[in-house]
């Protein structure tokens, strides 16, 4: 059960309401089931709908770590929103980091109310690429929309992360946890989204 990086520091970031906490919970449970020591740190409470949020996972085969990742020490960022991905990259990035990002933006209210300019998407992508060893961009929001399940974009992203092979957990481990966590009414749609993510790694991502 040796890990390439120990502790593995994983960040899941996005906008409040996108469901990053759920991704973190499912992943944490999957890791825990496989015997890893895992700590998850969340921002929630006041940062609900619309604020910048992120969860940090610290996974180790040896011992428990605290929830705070030291600056510049993240290994993977799973971004549910591109601006948030860049924000977290600036704080926690390093030349070896790998980013997987949904590329469909959510405009901060300042863009409308105070004439802030949301960065040009191409420049944003370029910046993320610049600050990473490799970066994968996917319009998961659009995929979710086509499925008719905008709210399940987070599960699509989870599927992509699992299919990337970057984590020492497999699809089956995650599926087990999802079945445990979701109430029966909500399970099928989320499973469908997860599967879509798993299968999209070859087709829809721009891999750099």
């Amino acid at each position: 059960m040796e890990m390439v990086q120990d502790p593995l520091n994983l960040i899941i970031c996005g906008v409040g309401g996108q469901g990053n906490i759920l991704i973190a919970s499912i992943l944490a449970a999957s890791f825990h089931q496989k015997g890893y020591r895992i700590t998850v740190g969340d921002t929630f409470g006041a940062a609900q709908r619309g604020g910048a949020v992120f969860s940090s996972l610290r996974v180790s085969a040896r011992k428990l770590y605290g929830p705070l990742i030291p600056s510049g020490k993240a290994h993977i960022i799973l971004g549910l929103e591109p601006l948030e991905t860049l924000r977290l990259l600036i704080q926690y990035g390093n030349p070896e980091i790998v980013c997987i990002t949904n590329i469909s933006p959510i405009y901060p209210v300042g863009v409308i109310a105070h004439n802030l300019r949301y960065p040009n998407i191409e420049e944003l992508k370029k910046s993320i690429l610049d600050l990473s060893k490799s970066a994968h961009f996917i319009d998961a929001a659009d995929m979710a929309r086509r499925l008719g399940l905008q709210i399940s974009m987070n599960m699509i992203m989870l599927g992509i992360l699992i299919a990337s092979g970057l984590l020492p957990v497999k699809k089956e481990d995650v599926l087990e946890e999802m079945k445990r966590i979701f109430p029966p009414v909500r399970l099928p749609a989320n499973l469908q989204a997860f599967e879509l993510g798993i299968h999209s790694i070859a087709s829809e991502t721009e891999i750099h």
Partner: protein
């Protein structure tokens, strides 16, 4: 949250820190729990509520933390085990009880108080460190570092509490409460206790009164003894342990979050062999012997804790209390290695350690750092917004509208809840004061009594429903009883929303889900003695406005209740009932953004501007403060915005829709503001010439220069020939400087030249034969009408009789002009008015205008007539000069009175002299301003009035191919805006002519968007901004400009009054700032369907009623 009541001892599950605390309480046998929601503590009571049935316990969300502590204490007094939990600020509310409960003890039961701090104040108004409380109250304090410890410490706290009959504090903090980690479960108790209380029991710090006054002191001393016993237990507790080398170079003493941060830092820097850790879990009573033992083995200590230097202080006390055989350096916050504020982080400890050991921090490589820096410039903040459909958004929108309408001299005291967002980036920033729960009432009560000391402001307190029950009622009673002049607005969204929709006394449900009495805010307000209490729905903007305005007109105290359920809560309820929310959408058939692009309807202002200014577009940018963009819109065609803004007669304002509503937008002032603003920007680079044809423009007045400017924009290099030594035509030699300062004109002419237009001053005018075809490919004639018409009365040739246009030209060119003391001006147009006002400024003691018709028929602009009268110009109506008398120089004017007869060919009543009505006026100067005419000679086709004949549609001179004309030379004396418009149309025609394209046809009449069709309900009445003018006494001293220019605030405000009945309408987006709205790159509007909660508040905002319900449409 998972099921916490699984009885699987020995199994390990992932739990949130707060869940672990709850599980610890369950394993200890807790039976009663109470609290008030507060980040980061909320999940403790929440998970106990969810476990209540399975665990057979009672859990409640109390009205406030003080009551919660008392509820828990009551259970303990009856022998049960109880828990009270709250955030750090909650301790402040509960402190009175806690500071007596320590002395009274908790009876035969057990009680644990969980205090959840918020270092870094992620979700609080302060980061106060409640660990201090333990020492002040003299109660035990435990601080866990991970979920496992959170459970174990809580369970132990109950044991301690029961054994020593004192409540125990477990201190949590954000990074523990809101982190998940593995927890090994222990067993749950099988038997629960029975509540018992003997009527002979006395539980109080006050004793039984036999020895007066000494009981609290006695109990205090007993409490200290208890603490000493507990200290002995803590000295050997397994909750304190050390790791690392036994004789380290540095010992870190840490607690709470300080521990994982220290472990991370030691590992990162590779200091495992040099740095040891002593982790303390039991902080008070402080295990001093244990610490002393460790201090004996080290020379350097670093204390890592948050937020205050609590342990640091204790460790320094230990140095004084014990004898050590070597000096020990204690580092931490006081030494500057760590900070007295903010949360502890691995980075902070890494920083401290690398400084202490003088080793470099693991730094990023330089190249990466540089990339980070440039990427940082791209990142914009993401402010926490109100959710789509939030009633607070609507409430603050309406409040701001009403406040501005009544003068905005209002102090707003805010409070704690989702509405605190008003103070942040995504709110309206109207709140002035905010302290803590319920403080808005107390502050407002105080402010409302300061009128006697000169405070001339209205006072408004704003608080939420839950906050009101929590803390505001005493403040309200205080305001009523002390007759404080204030208004309270309670935002009733039917939940304690910010923390997760917990119930409160107004929601009619208990924490355990049972229905209960629903207390109504309006009843309580009335019971507190408030006689004026009103309820409104913030989504009903019209009604809300009326109610709020009405209440604000009274002194108060008064209470307004804005009642509308939280959007997320409403959505949840709908989902529970199986109802789907129908998101709203913007109808492409009705939204002006979609419609205007393919329709021929114009806004009234745009349809009326002779210069073709795109008025709605520049107002659109002005109201957003995008002045450069607004300026660029104007200068797409019009080179004279600063000029026009000063001299135009603004027909747009007559037709402005707002005119029918309250007061028209002062469009010309905004044009002036933008023109001046743009004039200060760096001059734009000259466009590269693309066409080779030679073009001549005769005359550098507004028509000529506008034509040349537009031709230059199209890629030509026209040459402008000007006879005078100065450019600008009437702008330079006809309009006095107090209406149009020379430097404003010169600045705009310079900008025209920068576009590639050559102006040749002092040109001798060529004849038309010479112009084409030898020299030029196309000509624009714009020579204006500079020749004065004569009165044709006897004596007109005497000295002292001055033609007006010549007079004004000399004044403007600063040539010497002889003006007497008693000036008569004959005429009724702008030239007459300007002549009179100029005469006053030149020192004439009196200036009288005589006009042959009535005031109503005077062609001069009304504003200028009034200005002249303010300056002392006298106007006599229905008077006409018959003869000018005098020797060489005139001395009198013989006049005759007139009466008005039938209309003449101009459509105005014909003035007829009255018989026997002659009279004389003494005068030494007569300025003749009875008309102007074009004065060129040549064989061009002209009318009776000497005006050039042209094709109205193409502006080409009749019978003369290649010749075009516009301005006063065609129309006779007219307005600057018309001349500019003619210049623009001339350029378009000439370009078509030269490029072989079809010339423009007759302009079809525009259809105008009708005012009646607009939906204006959401717009309050508001007056136009009135600019400043110099006082008449100051004005006449010289030719300085008399009108001020708007400030940027005024420009934004005035432009915001525009209904935006047109393609730049963005009322839906800029009105509410609802996150469900999207403006895409092409500027089109959309409502994001999965973000929209279907509240419909925005429907009111759209003037075109374009926001529609999905289902219905």
């Amino acid at each position: 949250m998972g099921n916490l009541t699984r009885n699987l001892p020995g199994s390990e599950i992932m739990l949130l820190g707060n869940e672990a605390i709850a599980r610890g309480a369950l394993e200890a046998g807790v039976q009663v729990c109470a609290g008030y929601p507060g980040t980061p503590s909320t999940e403790i009571v929440q998970s106990l509520i969810e476990s209540a049935q399975a665990a057979n316990l009672y859990a409640e969300w109390s009205v406030n933390e003080k009551v919660a502590v008392e509820v828990a204490a009551a259970a303990a007094f009856c022998g049960l085990k109880s828990l009270a939990s709250m955030k750090n600020a909650g301790f402040n509310v509960a402190s009175d009880t806690l500071m007596h409960l320590n002395l009274s003890g908790v009876g035969k039961g057990a009680m644990v108080v969980v205090l959840c701090d918020d270092p870094q104040a992620h979700a609080s108004g302060d980061e106060m460190d409640t660990r201090h409380v333990a020492e002040i109250a003299d109660v035990p304090l435990l601080e866990p570092s991970n979920p496992q410890e959170a459970k174990d410490f809580t369970k132990f706290a109950f044991e301690l509490s029961e054994r020593f009959r004192t409540y125990c504090i477990v201190r949590s903090y954000t990074r523990l409460s809101h982190s998940h980690g593995p927890v090994v479960l222990s067993s749950l108790p099988e038997v629960m206790r029975r509540a018992e209380f003997h009527v002979s029991d006395l539980i109080t710090p006050y004793g039984d009164g036999r020895i007066p006054g000494s009981a609290p002191v006695q109990r205090h001393s007993l409490l200290h003894q208890k603490m000493e016993e507990i200290r002995e237990i803590f000295e050997t507790s397994q909750f304190n342990f050390s790791t690392g080398p036994s004789n380290p170079d540095l010992l870190i003493i840490c607690s709470g979050s300080g521990w994982p941060c220290s472990v991370d830092s030691i590992e990162t820097l590779g200091l495992e062999d040099r740095v040891g850790i002593l982790k303390l879990g039991t902080l008070w009573p402080y295990p001093k012997k244990l610490v002393a033992q460790h201090l004996e083995k080290v020379k350097q200590v670093l204390i890592v804790e948050e937020v205050d230097s609590l342990i640091e202080g204790y460790v320094k006390q230990t140095l004084a209390d014990f004898v050590f055989n070597h000096p020990i350096k204690v580092m931490g916050k006081s030494s500057g290695h760590l900070f007295h504020y903010g949360e502890v982080t691995p980075d902070g400890v890494i920083n401290a350690l690398s400084s202490i050991f003088n080793i470099p921090q693991p730094s990023q490589d330089v190249a990466y750092k540089r990339k980070v820096q440039s990427a940082s410039e791209m990142v914009i903040p993401r402010a926490l917004p109100w959710c789509p459909g939030c009633p607070h958004r609507a409430t603050f929108y309406v409040l701001n509208q009403v406040f501005k309408k009544v003068g905005n001299e209002i102090i707003v005291a805010g409070d704690i809840g989702c509405y605190t967002i008003d103070q942040w980036a995504a709110g309206t920033n109207r709140t002035n004061l905010c302290l803590c729960m319920g403080s808005s009432l107390g502050l407002a009560s105080g402010l409302g009594k300061l009128e006697r000391f000169g405070l001339e402001k209205r006072v408004v307190a704003i608080c939420g429903d839950s906050t009101f029950f929590h803390a505001s009622i005493p403040g309200l009673i205080n305001a009523v009883v002390n007759r404080s002049k204030m208004t309270l607005i309670i935002l009733d969204n039917d939940a304690t929303a910010m923390t997760g929709f917990q119930p409160h006394p107004g929601t009619g449900k208990t924490a355990m889900g049972e229905k209960t009495i629903q207390l109504r805010l309006e009843d309580i307000a009335r019971a507190c003695g408030v006689s004026v209490v009103e309820v409104f729905d913030p989504f009903n903007i019209l009604e809300a406005r009326k109610i709020i305005e009405n209440i604000l007109s009274m002194d108060g105290p008064s209470v307004l209740i804005a009642r509308r359920a939280c959007a997320l809560l409403a959505q949840r309820e709908r989902n529970k009932r199986g109802e789907t929310t129908a998101p709203f959408r913007i109808s492409e058939k009705k939204c002006s953004k979609y419609v205007s692009s393919n329709s021929d309807k114009l806004m009234p202002c745009a349809s009326s501007c002779p210069a073709g200014n795109e008025i709605p577009e520049f107002l659109h940018f002005a109201r957003q403060g995008k002045f450069q963009e607004g300026f660029e819109i104007l200068r797409r065609r019009n080179p004279f915005p600063a000029v026009l803004g000063r001299v135009c007669y603004h027909p747009c304002e007559e037709l402005c829709g707002r005119n029918s509503y309250d007061e028209a937008i002062v469009i010309h002032e905004i044009e002036k503001f933008l023109g001046d603003y743009g004039g200060k920007l760096p001059l734009k680079k000259r466009k590269m010439k693309t066409f080779n044809e030679k073009i001549a423009v005769i005359g550098s007045g507004p028509a000529g220069l506008s034509c040349a400017y537009n031709l230059a924009l199209m890629g030509y290099q026209p040459i402008v020939f000007e006879r005078l030594s100065v450019a600008g035509g009437m702008l330079a030699v006809g309009i006095p400087e107090y209406r149009l300062p020379r430097q404003v004109l010169e600045s705009e002419i310079r900008q025209i030249e920068e576009m590639g237009v050559q102006i040749r001053l002092g040109s001798h005018m060529l004849s038309t034969e010479e112009l084409i075809p030898k020299k030029f490919d196309a000509i624009f004639i714009a020579t204006g009408a500079h020749k004065d018409l004569k009165l044709q009365i006897p004596g007109e040739d005497k000295e002292g009789v001055l033609p007006a246009i010549e007079f004004l030209r000399n004044v403007n060119l600063k040539k010497s002009v002889t003006i007497g003391n008693r000036v008569i001006v004959v005429g009724g147009g702008n030239a007459a008015i300007d002549s009179a006002r100029a005469a006053i400024r030149l020192g004439a003691k009196s200036a009288t205008i005589i006009y042959r018709r009535s005031r109503a028929d005077m062609p001069a602009h009304e504003e200028d007539i009034l200005a002249a009268m303010d300056e002392g110009v006298e106007i006599q109506y229905l008077v006409f000069p018959q003869e000018i008398l005098g020797t060489k120089r005139l001395s009198k004017v013989r006049c005759v009175r007139m009466k008005l007869g039938k209309p003449d060919e101009s459509g105005r009543p014909l003035p007829i002299p009255l018989e026997n009505s002659t009279f004389d006026i003494e005068a030494d100067t007569v300025i003749v301003a009875v008309g102007q005419t074009p004065d060129f000679t040549d064989n061009l086709p002209v009318s009776k009035t000497n005006a050039l004949l042209i094709n109205d549609a193409t502006l080409s001179v009749v019978g003369k191919p290649g010749f075009f004309a516009g301005g006063d030379v065609v129309t006779g004396p007219s307005y600057v805006a018309d001349a500019i418009g003619a210049g623009i149309r001339g350029a378009i025609s000439m370009d078509a002519y030269l490029r072989g394209k079809p010339l423009p046809g007759t302009q079809k009449k525009n259809r105008i968007i009708s005012y009646e069709a607009l939906n204006l309900g959401s717009i309050p009445f508001s007056p136009r901004v009135r600019g400043l003018r110099l006082f008449p006494e100051k004005r006449i001293l010289d030719f300085s400009e008399i009108e001020s220019v708007f400030s940027s605030d005024e420009a934004v405000y005035e432009a915001s009054r525009c209904f935006s009945c047109g393609p730049s309408c963005e009322k839906c987006i800029t009105g509410f700032h609802c996150p469900a709205f999207l403006r895409d790159v092409e500027g089109r509007h959309e409502i994001v369907d999965f973000l929209c909660v279907g509240c419909g508040a925005c429907v009111n905002l759209c003037p075109y009623r374009a926001i529609v319900d999905e289902e219905i449409s």
